[in-house]
């Protein structure tokens, strides 16, 4: 089975967000991690390979630092990596990125493409589904359980207030929700092996794409930071007094009860 996992390098969840002099998100000094939901996609890819054989390829977009994320995935057990490293990628939106990814993935055979259900940085949750559309294949979002038999997959996905079960034929895109599996940690041996695994770097020109093909559909006017919340008051007295006071404030002052 040929498995492709698309990953994104994101800011650590503990990162504080600041804007730089140009009003853009400042990445300086920020600790970078593999998007946590992509770890479930990596783990599922490795598990499928362990069960059915074949090869797992990880694909990412971004600057040279994204190589670290790919090396981590290789250390977990992925076979090879492809990084689309081109400064023009920064000037694209989800529409363009789906085209880039579709071209990059066309370089390798694939039966299933696994992606985290959301990236915790932009939180857009678009690329995986757009990619499936760009490749004219089905997708199942937010998957909690994946069973594969031959070229058929049965996926249980999270919906509001429950789950649904969907059958698809491969090739298909599956987006991973927390709960799908427990991602493994890279072993020391895995980290050593990862250094020798192939990592191919491609530019947009290598993919036959130009900036013109990818002009963004969305215009970002600006970024802003939330107004910091002010701590309010701590209610005095014993537990009974405080509970009574709180109920009164919620009704009379906040008017929420």
């Amino acid at each position: 089975m040929n498995i492709v996992v698309f990953i994104k390098q994101t800011f650590d969840t503990e990162a504080k967000i600041v804007l730089d002099g140009n009003g853009k998100i400042d990445a300086n000094g920020v600790n970078l991690i593999i998007n946590p939901y992509d770890e479930f996609a990596i783990e599922e890819g490795i598990k499928l390979k362990e069960k059915f054989g074949g090869e797992v390829t990880v694909v990412s977009m971004g600057g040279p630092r994204a190589q670290e994320a790919i090396r981590t995935a290789l250390a977990m057990g992925i076979d090879k990596g492809i990084l689309v490293n081109d400064p023009e990628v920064d000037n694209t939106d989800e529409y363009g990125r789906a085209q880039i990814l579709a071209k990059a993935i066309a370089q390798v055979p694939y039966d299933v493409i696994l992606v985290g259900r959301i990236a915790i940085d932009d939180g857009a949750s678009q690329i995986a589904v757009r990619l499936a559309e760009a490749l004219s294949i089905p997708s199942v979002s937010s998957v909690l359980k994946l069973e594969v038999a031959g070229t058929q997959a049965t996926a249980t996905r999270e919906i509001d207030g429950g789950t649904e079960t969907i059958e698809v034929s491969f090739p298909a895109v599956i987006t991973a929700q927390k709960g799908l599996n427990e991602p493994r940690y890279p072993s020391v041996a895995g980290i050593m092996k990862a250094k020798k695994k192939p990592l191919q770097t491609l530019t947009l020109a290598d993919l036959g794409l130009s900036a013109g093909d990818l002009s963004p559909k969305m215009i970002i006017n600006e970024y802003s930071l939330p107004t910091p919340r002010q701590g309010g008051r701590k209610l005095a007295g014993d537990a009974a007094q405080a509970a009574n006071e709180l109920a009164k404030l919620l009704r009379e002052e906040a008017k929420v009860l």
Binding site: I17, P138, S141, I159, G161, G162, K217, I220, G231, L246
Partner: protein, 329 residues
């Protein structure tokens, strides 16, 4: 010439989702300000009776697409039908609730239409240049992006609880149109086998007006019943912090925070939650925050409107009694 604000109305078992009513209410305001009509689209089976609700909620035109293949949401069938409809109707904007359906449908539809999409927006305003501008949280609310598009239609998914639902106007009139469902065979490759909705008397976390949430201070899964008792008095949803989920006390679907759900209820009651940055990112835009924690230095007090320093196992049951008194008044 592109015309109208199209709302893709989501229904489940012939009940219109609250977020769809929120979108109709807000679209009505924009329509009144800009002169663009509100076009509501309802997909499903046996949906005729929903036209009245949608009209009363603000639609100028209601398009019903009634077909057995649309009874339950599937990515392929819904995309197939809506792609054709949008190309025919040429709306200025297409708005969808950021629900499990919206999150799956909107990117697929946007890609097929070759347009952009502003996902999970928490703000939308009329704009004289680009018609609409959107505000969306990034880094789970640690920052915001303000964006728009010159490509038509301009598409967005809007987070539940962003806009209030206006009172329905039973006197409103709308043009009601029925369209046939044209579904391409290529869009019917994924087959929906089963839908399992967990029976719960509590609202969805993302749609709830009030959330009672418990963290590490709950000490174990067996103690959540005190939060549930409190929640049930006021019809609240119950949430959990990452610490509680990672400890296996609650399922991930209850997790609030950067790696869980982002919520914006009117009232968020944090019990035994320290207030890690990734949790605050997920609930920091709640209108009012209450913190109950025995550690007076807990970070959660820095964002809480009202705080009680104390043992939650003592305070929460007392609060439940106080809430009961208010509700019974």
């Amino acid at each position: 010439m592109a015309k109208g604000i199209m709302i893709i109305v989501e229904q489940r078992n012939l009940q219109i989702r609250k977020v769809s009513l929120e979108l109709l209410s807000q679209a009505r305001k924009i329509a009144d300000a800009t002169g663009e009509p509100v076009v509501a689209v309802v997909l499903g089976q046996g949906i005729d009776e929903l036209a009245a609700t949608v009209t009363a909620s603000g639609a100028d035109k209601v398009i019903l697409i009634d077909d057995a293949k649309l009874a339950e949401y599937t990515t392929g069938a819904y995309t197939s039908v809506l792609n054709k409809l949008i190309r025919k109707e040429e709306p200025q904007a297409v708005l969808i609730g950021n629900t499990a359906v919206g999150k799956d449908l909107a990117p697929r539809l946007a890609q097929r239409l070759g347009v952009g999409l502003a996902s999970d927006c928490t703000g939308m305003e009329a704009d004289s240049n680009s018609f609409l501008t959107f505000k969306r949280p990034i880094y789970a609310g640690k920052a915001f992006a303000h964006l728009t598009s010159n490509v038509r239609p301009i598409m967005a998914t809007i987070r539940p609880n962003t806009f209030p639902v206006a009172a329905p106007d039973a006197a409103r009139q709308a043009e009601v149109v029925k369209e046939a469902a044209e579904i391409d065979a290529a869009d019917l490759v994924a087959i929906l086998k089963e839908v399992a909705i967990a029976a719960s008397k509590r609202p969805e976390l993302t749609e709830a007006n009030i959330i009672v949430s418990g963290g590490r201070g709950m000490k174990g899964p067996e103690n959540y019943n005190i939060l549930e008792d409190l929640a049930d008095v006021v019809g609240a949803a119950v949430g959990a912090s990452r610490a509680a989920v990672d400890s296996g006390w609650k399922e991930h679907k209850f997790q609030v925070g950067q790696t869980g759900k982002t919520v914006a209820p009117t009232l968020y009651i944090a019990c035994g939650i320290s207030g890690a940055i990734q949790h605050l990112a997920g609930m920091g835009s709640s209108k009012f925050i209450v913190a109950i924690n025995k550690d007076p230095e807990a970070n959660i007090f820095n964002v809480a409107d009202y705080g009680i320093v104390g043992d939650l196992f003592e305070v929460v049951p007392l609060l439940t009694e106080e809430f009961k008194k208010l509700v019974n008044e």
